[in-house]
């Protein structure tokens, strides 16, 4: 058996391990972006594609939830606007938290401390204020890695 690395680890089919072996990571990061504003959605999509991420966009939280449910382990991270007419970002976050194990970033043009606090306490891994710069999006992969590292630690403990 040809072992190319010394630590003898096997690459397991881990729960959502699609990112583990990719050499180009974070290129190919699978992002779902949700915003009911078409202008913002178009800009996000372009920025995320420029970061070499794989982007899926939705303009409704309900649609986003269906997509996530239909493609379990199909995404690495969700970015969602807070203020949307049918279901808002907080509700979407609650659903994602209870049904899946995905990092969620909330975005809004609202920057009040109360709402940012709400986002963080609801479990958002980050809260970004519009307008979002591409440099910020280039770093979102860190949330994916951090969450996985935490999950791994929990698995080891128990």
């Amino acid at each position: 058996m040809n072992s190319s690395n010394g630590n003898g680890s096997m690459s397991t089919a881990s729960s959502s391990g699609a990112w583990d072996g990719r050499d180009q990571f974070p290129a190919g990061l699978r992002v779902l972006v949700v915003d009911d504003d078409p202008t913002c959605l178009m800009i996000f999509e372009k920025m995320l594609k420029t970061c070499l991420y794989q982007v899926t966009k939705c303009n409704k939280a309900e649609t986003a939830l269906s997509v996530l449910r239909e493609h379990k382990n199909g995404f690495d991270i969700v970015i969602s606007d807070v203020h949307m007419p049918d279901m808002d970002g907080f509700e979407l976050l609650k659903h994602i938290d209870s049904e899946m194990d995905l990092p969620v970033i909330l975005i809004s043009a609202d920057a009040t401390k109360q709402i940012v606090m709400k986002g963080v306490t609801y479990g958002a891994c980050d809260y970004l204020i519009k307008p979002v710069r591409i440099e910020t999006l280039k770093n979102i992969w860190q949330h994916v890695v951090r969450k996985k590292a935490r999950n791994t630690l929990l698995e080891i403990k128990y």
Binding site: M42, I43, K46, M47, A109, K130, R133, I134
Partner: protein, 155 residues
């Protein structure tokens, strides 16, 4: 007009939009930097989308403020959206007008909000006009075989 002259005219015009009048801010530069060979019309497409979307929002706002019992929550939601999209495009003065608008929505001040609506509309049509002029200048340069000069603004 030869290409060099057109390019200089575009640079001067664009600079004035940023520096003197504050119509656009650094976010607009982000959009220009996103445009590349794979997406050569990105700025035009986003700006057009912004125009369509904003005009719809402004109509909704006009109607919402025209009701006997104004639903300020609804008004605020529309202004919030316009604030988000205008800030994402870099339309600074529209964004600032929205910020003022929202504070009066909170106060549920009908007269002030009506004035704010006029202000937002004014800023919107101004920036629309400026952007259309700028994009037209760009088109002329490209049609004459020239390339769009990069604007250095030191933001």
């Amino acid at each position: 007009m030869e290409v060099g002259q057109m390019q200089r005219r575009l640079v001067d015009y664009t600079k004035s939009l940023f520096m003197e009048k504050g119509f656009l801010d650094a976010q607009f530069l982000q959009l220009q930097q996103l445009q590349d060979e794979s997406n050569p019309d990105f700025v035009v497409e986003v700006v057009s989308l912004f125009f369509d979307d904003s005009e719809k929002l402004l109509n909704d706002l006009t109607m919402a403020l025209d009701q006997p019992n104004v639903d300020f929550k609804k008004v605020d939601a529309h202004v919030h959206q316009l604030k988000g999209s205008s800030s994402s495009i870099g339309a600074q003065r529209v964004k600032n007008a929205c910020i003022a608008f929202r504070s009066f929505c909170e106060e549920q001040n009908i007269d002030a909000t009506l004035r704010c609506l006029q202000q937002v509309k004014q800023e919107y049509y101004l920036v629309k006009n400026k952007l259309e002029t700028m994009l037209r200048l760009e088109q002329q340069i490209v049609a004459a075989g020239g390339s769009i000069p990069m604007i250095e603004l030191g933001f």
